[in-house]
Amino acid sequence: MTTYLLKRLAIGALTLVVASIVVFSVLEILPGDPARLMLGLNASEATVQVLREQMGLNQPILLRYLDWAGGLLTLDFGKSYTYSVPVIDLISERVVVSLPLAIMALLLSTAIAIPVGVFSAQRRGSTADTLSMGAAQIGVAIPNFWFALILIYIFAVWLRLVPAGGFPGWNAGLWPAFKALILPAVALALQQAAILARVTRSALLDVLGEDYIRTARAKGMPRNYVLWRHALRNAMIPLLTILGLQFAFLIAGTIIIENVFYLPGLGRLIFQAITQRDLIVVESVVMLLVATVIVVNFLVDLSYAIVDPRLRIRQ
């Protein structure tokens, strides 16, 4: 098991290093001077020079990469040009919105999808199965930002149950802050839940066709017992893969959804940074999100090993 995990850990670390080189190179392949790009065409030469100095652009490239990468490791991302504050402050201020949102959406989608998928697989071919898979099929096709608009229209504009957007901050109390995240989380969760429900069903049906399911049935175990105790755990393996991939989509989804709801999260930060050409912020947030995806993928590998003894124990 340790060999497997060490290997996955090494792969994750390697991916992270290469990803950092890719992100860093983005600044380097920029046509022209990044400092000038950030300041716009009307900036004076002197201001540009100041910024170049500040960004360390006058140093050799390797040194600058090591400097930057070293900074990342110590959570020192540099200083935002537009906000004139350390990037880490901006990030920590925003992450308390994005992270709860992503987790809420993930929990919500899993909580809906797994029971629906199991329910459908149990009743394969029935009307209930056809209806729920039809609904899932439509759910997959609905873009999350459009669904968000509909939710806003129904629950904020029409029913006035929740705010249409914005975030009062966690200082305003747990409930108001939570309330502001409900619609965004639902909007994010729908598509993921639809995908996950379909995958759960088909993974279960695959497993239910296996020989060992017949062995368990020949042992006298009733159908539902076999489904929950034998099939589901084996079906977890493809499910975990999808959950890992979905996290990346969820990250991308937060960028859009935060913009729909005007939530001051990382997605909104990166988007504003683009329009303001604050490349240091863009770079840092992209790197942070990429790192999150890589860490989540490692966690998925870890859970494979927990679910599947063939990875845990050598023959």
């Binding site: 060999t3 060992y212 017949r214 042992k219 006298g220 034998h230 003894p309 063939r310």
Partner: protein, 542 residues
Amino acid sequence: MSLLEIENLSLKIGETPILRDVDLSIDAGEVMGLVGESGSGKSMTALTVMQLLPNAARTEGRVSFDGIDILAATEDRMCALRGDDIGMVFQEPMTALNPVKTIGEQVAEGIRWHTGASRADAEERARQILDRVGLPEKKFPMSRYPHQLSGGQRQRVVIAIACALKPKLLIADEPTTALDVVLQAQILELLRDLVDENRMGLLLISHDLAVVTQMADRITILRHGEVMEAGETAQTLSKQAHPYTRQLALASTHVPERRVLAHPFAGDRASLLEVQNISRFYPGQRLSMFHKAEPFRAVDDVSFSIAPGQSTALVGRSGCGKSTLARMILALDRPSGGEIRFMGETLTGRDEAALKPARRNMQVVFQDPYGSFNPRHKVERLVAEPLHLLEKQPSPAERREVVASALHEVGLRAEDMDKYPHEFSGGQRQRLSIARAIITRPKLVVADEPVSALDVSIRAQILDLFADLNGRLGVAYLFITHDLTVARAITDDVMIMHEGKIVERGPTGEVLDHPQSEATKALVAAAPDLHRAIARRLQEQG
């Protein structure tokens, strides 16, 4: 009244009739052999008794087990019977166990479910039954997972699950078909003992007449879903009253007529194939970051030669390295050491272009008639594939002519070249496979278990074809098989392989009649033989 009584059982899946008016009965302590070729409905009969049929299945007739009407029983009632009063063992041990549960859990689960025993009690009983089936806890802790066991060991676990609660009836559906002969003999002995110990009824399903004769008190012969003949085993098989019984028995022991080489060893000077000290090692499993296990010696220092036109069998248990050896001879796998010479040319270490002349003279026939062809190509293209090796590529018209004559050689028609492989039966596909192998007129054909996936009657025809081509075209064979009957039928010479080494070699009849090495003795003792089995049965009855 019998333990199990099946009367006038008919079964349809959708609109397809599977079984028609099947009658069968088993008494306590009795072994009933159910024999038939593929598609005869053997497995479906077993699944009917278990009520584990596919959803679209419709049954008619009467099945009563211990006084219970099975066809009318509720699902709850069946759950109570399955695993408690009726146990079942399946064909494929590699996939029959849940990969994410320990063997202890899987055995104890049924015990707890049926008896309501506590976890500790159930585990204790699981320990006992695993010990009984030959998996003592000292060597095989109950915390093992299926992937840590071999095929034979896994089949023992499946038997333990089926017999944990001493069922009145055990159904074994081809329980040894996926195992080699030595393991087969061990598993059959275990089943025999369990039946005797607990006075179980055993429904033994098999395609192998010899296996059933060894085991069964009575026998039922099934064909196309109908019972052809049923009765006391030795009587039925020695009298062979029904023509189909006769046909099956003849096919099972079929020996093709073939020209015998005058001097199998005389051709050593001009041998066709020479293998010298060939080895193939696979790197050992990594035990930790810094330690690797010893490399696995799949083939270990093997030398032999084959003369032109000679038919040689390579026999051994599964995993003994025979297929690896064959692949190295075919230059599909690189040896770790040693040299292979074919028609005087060294093959080892050559690149693909330099191998072309050798490949032209050396072709291959595989085991699986379904996996041997690209399902998306037509027969013409499939059979013509080795023509790629010719110096001068034939024109389309020439190609069709060559393919037609190859198809003719193997008893197929020229028109067949415009069909897709799925339009042929298993036996016909194996003929296609042979047509492809002989299209370049090779001097040597390596055949890797070419008849073991075929029904006995088809097997007999294919063996005839091999013998015929050997006589007419003078092609030499390296015939890889685990089946001694096949080796006897088709080869001059036999090599016995054991754990990567060739342990014995000589004329086939001599070696198999008077085995010298332990490995050969074990193989010969374990191999089922129909004539001997019938003789023994008749003798027992006096």
